[in-house]
């Protein structure tokens, strides 16, 4: 399979008065055509910043400090707005967390679809109407809603129409930032199933950011776990769920109560994620890690390939933790 995206050594800084804060630190990954990559982590781990950096949507005080984002061979870092807008929507589209804020409240859904289409080429009115109706049907909304305004739609329908809008040009990559977090479980599940169906049918690649690991367990091909701006673990989704290697990944998985099986007491992960401006020395997770040894507080681990997954943990790498 060919690569649609190659991110290498990407770092993002927030330039603040009290000094620069590195929110994304040396992140590299590739994405194949038609692949679904899930990115999970807690608030402040840099997952949304990473996503914005990939889509080239960062605004000051955030700035890409190093690295490249190669999309279909072109490095997006450093492109002008004009060059980027040729790619946006057409080849790469973004679905934001809150559709209520992402959609224009004073324009009908159809008018917003029209704007996006007119930004790329000169489609006729019929072409616009036909394509708009087609993508809405694709996500299961009656095309009569092209005349509706965002407030007239339910939360689920708004998210669906955002996804429909992202489908207007059959892009190669769709970037999604917690698109289901405002929805109920039933609506959430149905939207996930639909995203996956569309993806398998149309063949676009997906980067899906969420804080809810269980949500993507059945949908993503590969899973990337982020902690404090870095990748802690990256591997096949099923493998990571079945045998998580990084203690943080383990902790996240054990923090979910289940509706099945025996009721077991859970502990969660003690402490809080670190302040990125005051990172602990050594491994960034060691203050919260149940397996930490003295060395973890001194040596910062690299991301190493342990066959089944890439893992950033000293004790996994030297085999002292099994």
């Amino acid at each position: 399979m060919s690569e649609v995206l190659e991110v290498s050594g990407l770092s993002v800084d927030y330039l603040l008065d009290r000094g620069d804060v590195r929110a994304v630190d040396d992140v590299s990954f590739t994405l194949d055509r038609g692949e679904f990559l899930g990115i999970v982590g807690e608030s402040g781990c840099g997952k949304s910043t990473l996503l914005f950096a990939v889509a080239q949507l960062l605004a000051p005080p955030a700035r890409i400090a190093a690295g490249s984002v190669r999309f279909q061979g072109t490095n997006l870092v450093g492109l002008t707005d004009g060059q980027l807008s040729a790619i946006r929507w057409r080849d790469l589209s973004v679905v934001m967390q809150s559709a209520m804020n992402a959609l224009n409240p004073v324009k009908s859904i159809g008018a917003q679809f029209k704007d996006a289409m007119k930004a790329h080429g000169k489609p006729t009115g019929e072409e616009i109407a036909a394509r708009s109706a087609e993508v809405l049907k694709m996500v299961g909304i009656d095309p009569v809603h092209l005349g509706s305004y965002p407030h007239q739609l339910s939360g689920g329908m708004r998210q669906r129409s955002m996804i429909a809008m992202a489908m207007l040009f059959t892009p190669d990559l769709v970037i999604m930032d917690e698109p289901t977090s405002a929805l109920d479980v039933v609506a959430q599940r149905s939207l996930m199933v639909q995203i996956r169906e569309l993806q398998l049918r149309l063949g676009f690649a997906v980067i899906f950011v969420t804080h809810d690991m269980s949500l993507i367990s059945h949908f993503s091909d590969r899973l990337m776990v982020m902690y404090a701006g870095q990748v802690d673990e990256l591997g096949e989704t099923r493998t990571v769920f079945d045998r998580p290697l990084h203690p943080y990944t383990q902790g996240l998985l054990e923090a979910f109560p289940s509706i099945r099986g025996p009721r077991v007491p859970l502990k969660g992960i003690p402490g809080n994620p670190p302040d990125l401006a005051r990172l602990p020395a050594g491994c960034r997770f060691h203050p919260r890690c149940p397996y930490a040894v003295e060395r973890c507080a001194q040596v910062a681990p690299e991301l190493a390939d342990l066959d089944q997954a890439l893992v950033r943990c000293l004790r996994r790498q030297d085999g002292s933790l099994n």
Partner: protein, 339 residues
């Protein structure tokens, strides 16, 4: 229930007028809902957004008054509480913890401000020094150090702020805490700590909690009983393990099938249900779930189902489930005779 009854909602109903001044349309946020909460009990109130669960919390907190129906707290009708003193007493016994730990605290005051203020209002017998001692004590109970009292809200993490919310509630020596989605805005790794705290408050201090959530798995983790709401009405209620292992209402079944669980295999029948909440504006009689229900029969469009006890302490408002249960009852003696 074996527990002594603490609070009872009796045919509780709350309607809202919507539209302009001339509009006659009403939104039935909560319609004829009855339930009880015992002492030392965590009751989970689950349902999708718009199902009326937050309205119930606000009715119990007396932020709204019911359109009809009554709430009894320790046997006394809450609508009869009129004097300022008694209203304060009630809100101290039944305090609320809010969803948003970032919006529920005044950013210009230290976190002790809220605790000390509610102590001053609700426990007037305490001196200034006693109030500070009491604040330190409740902070200790929720797992925060006394040094936290001096901090400003922005210095605290989301999980710590929610603990402050519970400390504030505890300072008033409550009997029932109304917790409206208290963990939904927290990170996954932090949530469990708060859920464990809720269980601990019940077990060690005997506080009851109404835990409002859309997360069934977390409800199962802490709650004793579950109430499933749909479109302003109770669809199913019972001891939580019984409801989860043997859900009888089709909505409960749908809800449970949608809970993401990495440990379970993906059900191949990817349901076509869109998860659209129903409109409860001027509803006609009939079951409100019938448009989404795979089992709906003709009766469902004509008669609103009422809660019936189908299993011990396990009530379901569904015509089909009720018919199945009574059919099983008729058959049961036959089996006995033949065996």
């Amino acid at each position: 229930m074996t527990a002594t009854e603490l609070l009872r909602a009796d045919h509780l109903t709350r309607h809202f007028k919507i539209g302009g001044a001339l509009s006659r349309r009403t939104l039935h946020a909560v319609d004829d809902v009855s339930f009880a909460i015992g002492e030392r009990e965590i009751v989970a109130l689950a349902g999708e957004s718009g199902s009326g669960k937050s309205t119930i919390a606000r009715l119990l907190a007396r932020i709204y008054s019911p359109t009809s129906g009554e709430i009894y707290f320790e046997g006394t009708p809450v609508s009869r509480i009129r004097s300022r003193r008694n209203r304060l007493r009630y809100s101290g016994l039944v305090p609320m913890v809010f969803q948003d730990p970032f919006g529920s605290m005044n950013p210009v005051f230290r976190v002790q401000h809220g605790v000390l203020r509610s102590l001053k209002l609700h426990r007037r017998e305490l001196s200034g020094a006693q109030r500070r001692d009491e604040a330190a004590r409740v902070f200790d109970v929720v797992g925060l150090g006394a040094d936290m009292l001096e901090r400003f809200p922005h210095e605290l993490s989301g999980g710590q702020r929610q603990r402050v919310g519970f400390a504030q509630a505890l300072a008033m020596r409550p009997k029932l805490i109304l917790a409206d989605e208290p963990v939904s805005m927290l990170d996954v790794s932090i949530r469990i700590g708060l859920l464990n705290l809720m269980a601990e408050l019940r077990d060690t201090m005997g506080v009851s909690i109404l835990y409002i959530t859309h997360d069934i798995a977390s409800a199962r983790y802490v709650a004793d009983r579950l109430i499933v709401m749909y479109a302003g009405q109770i669809a199913e209620t019972g001891p939580i393990e019984d409801v989860l292992t043997d859900p009888r209402h089709p909505y409960t079944q749908l809800l449970l099938s949608a809970v993401p669980d990495p440990r379970a295999p993906l059900s191949v029948a990817a349901e076509t249900d869109r998860g659209e909440p129903p409109k409860v504006i001027d509803p006609a009689p009939g079951c409100r779930f019938r448009w989404r229900c795979p089992l709906a029969i003709e009766k469902c469009a004509q008669v609103t189902p009422v809660l019936m006890e189908l299993l011990p302490a396990h009530d379901v408002a569904c015509h089909v489930a009720q018919a199945q249960a009574s059919a099983a009852e008729v058959q049961a003696p036959l089996i006995k005779e033949t065996s």
